[in-house]
Symmetry: none
DNA sequence: TATGAATGAGTATTCATTCAT
DNA sequence: TATGAATGAATACTCATTCAT
């Protein structure tokens, strides 16, 4: 008749988690339409169909909620980049695919970029977040970059070289996204996508030339 | 009596302008110590020795004041980059010097970077700023990038190529500054300066290889 | 099966009571470290290892919980004062001991004083508490004052005189504790303890002079 | 025709001050009807016919507003006690009058007592107030007690004795007010006023006996 | 008996901006 | 040109309490 306690608890947990997810989803929606600064706890709560106070049952603070969103975003990013990496066997294309996956992800979700910069600002958040969360986010970021790093290793670069190349690619991509996001790309009559491809071609050429 | 009206007006204008500059200087000081989010009109007014209301005689809005600061910053940046460009006769070093001047400027004044991103966000400001000001800022930005573009032209690139190369250099530099500013460079055991040099070396090598 | 229902109920009762005591103890701890204003139901619940909602099974309201704590405190106070009274046979010292026991109790537990003032404020609590509880607390307070009253009776005062003397001693002691608690005693380069002794000496002298 | 600037400024000042006083008066009214805990900035602002934000133009914080009220209260108290002291030439009655003026003041304005205890709690306020204000309040308190102290001096007590006697009188009065304020006086079938008189008579008798 | 989830009312304070003077 | 005074909307967050489960 009745469900066993264990099952019930599981269901509650699922329900609880799904509520968290509901709130996070609502927060994402608000972010997307209002931007980071425009997204208030009140607004998020309203969008989620809750009282502001209710959110505090699920998240310790606004920043913690933000961090959760960023974490989910980074997770999705990492999945995307890894999938792109794995979808290719050609070593050169692997790099291209992985790096472009990174680029396309943020090109499609520009607000997530803001979020990342906001929470990473100064290397730590102003309010809470704390070191543990910073470390966690760093780890997640690295997981998204790891395929790119691996691609460079696979192309014959040693560990230090690969790391530097990954950093360069990350920076280049971030900058490119920034220019597009802030509408400055118009100055140059070109697109970030094009420039990304050219950057990657150059990297591959340079690597090929070395050997 | 003593002074003619015309002279008086001129003096007032001068005095007015110097007051503007005083306010802008105060705002810069506040930005540097408090950051973009921490800088309030009240705080700026206090630092300038004025009432908040007084600032509205000199600037239409907070954003307008910000824009003015950004304009000054871009002007200083342009001067710096141009001077670096002119200080060199060797074509390759010209590029290096100009690009690194850009990098060093923001590395030393990271808050100015924030300001730029903030005001350029979305291609237009939320409140005022308007198209004219956006255009003006774009022009100023281009003035800071022009020497880099010229260096590429001098290295034998055609106009389109130079523009794309300038865009790439701009993006790369911006991304690098971003990574450093947000403390993410630590992930890679290297520095933005080093990576900048390596990027520029690669660009020069690729150009040389082409011909 | 094994245990009879009656026994079970008793056990439950005992268990319930011990839980109550656990909560009260937790609340006391929170009071002592956070003060009256700083003590929230949430904090108390956490300290007790419960959910806030759980406390409502044991206490009708926050005020009711407070009242319980005050009741325990008054009980302890009464015990202390009675013991002090009984520990002496000399009539004059009996008064001194009893009154000083009162003083020392609150001097050591200043938060309990706050609690008393808070709950007694206006003669009744804002929310619940009600008349029964007020009467109960009054009774308990009187039990703590009874030894002092008895001491005055033993010193030959009639009932009315003793009551008035008790009231005076109570007021004097309370005021003294208040001055110390609020740091105002510093104005006078003396201590509450000293002044208490001098007050009691005077009372005894006045009584002696009368006869 | 027009008013001179100096006059205008004076008027403005007067107007500004009167607005402060208006707010303070409103705050007092709210205190009296709602009590200390029930008095919120919002409520005070509403009562004063202002927006909460407007109060911050006149007072730095809620605590600062409270402190101002307490300061005014203490000033009025001091005036009252001094006047009582001066109205008498008979040395014994001087003490009586001054001490009873103190008592009557708080008996008529019991909320002011709360305010004093609240702001003096722990010798310093939790939020702001700061040492300067604490010192100022202490000074004001002493000004209200000075006549009592003088009365003891006039009765032939040396400085130390007078100080201790003043402390004792202050404590006794405070305690008496407390008992009345919290409705505990009912336990003793007497009144604070009566007990105050009897306390003062005793003090005078003890002083007379000494010499 | 206890929890998880939620509420609604409340908190002090800050913000950019306006306007009469 | 500048101020003093004020606004209205917003902010994140806390509270005691309730209720279905």
């Amino acid at each position: 008749m009745a469900l066993s306690r264990a099952v019930k608890r599981k269901e509650n947990l699922a329900s609880s988690d799904s509520k968290r997810d509901l709130i996070i989803a609502a927060a994402r929606r608000v972010f997307e339409s209002e931007g980071l600064e425009g997204a208030s706890l009140r607004g998020i709560a309203k969008e989620a169909g809750y009282t502001p106070a209710a959110l505090y049952f699920h998240f310790d603070s606004k920043e913690a909620l933000y961090a959760e969103i960023l974490a989910e975003s980074l997770e999705a990013l990492a999945k995307r980049v890894n999938a792109a990496f794995r979808s290719e066997t050609d070593l050169e294309n692997r790099l291209r695919r992985a790096a472009m996956a990174f680029y396309y992800f943020y090109s499609a979700n520009p607000r997530d970029l803001d979020l990342g910069f906001y929470l990473f600002k100064g290397g730590m958040s102003p309010v809470g977040l704390g070191k543990e969360r910073d470390n966690k986010l760093n780890d997640q970021l690295w997981e998204a970059l790891a395929p790119i790093n691996q691609a460079f290793l696979d192309l014959g670069q040693d560990e230090d070289q690969a790391k530097a190349l990954t950093a360069g690619t990350f920076a280049h991509t971030s900058g490119m996204l920034l220019l597009e996001h802030t509408g400055r790309m118009r100055l140059f009559d070109t697109t970030g996508e094009l420039l990304m491809h050219s950057y990657l071609d150059n990297q591959l050429k340079l690597i090929a030339d070395k050997s």
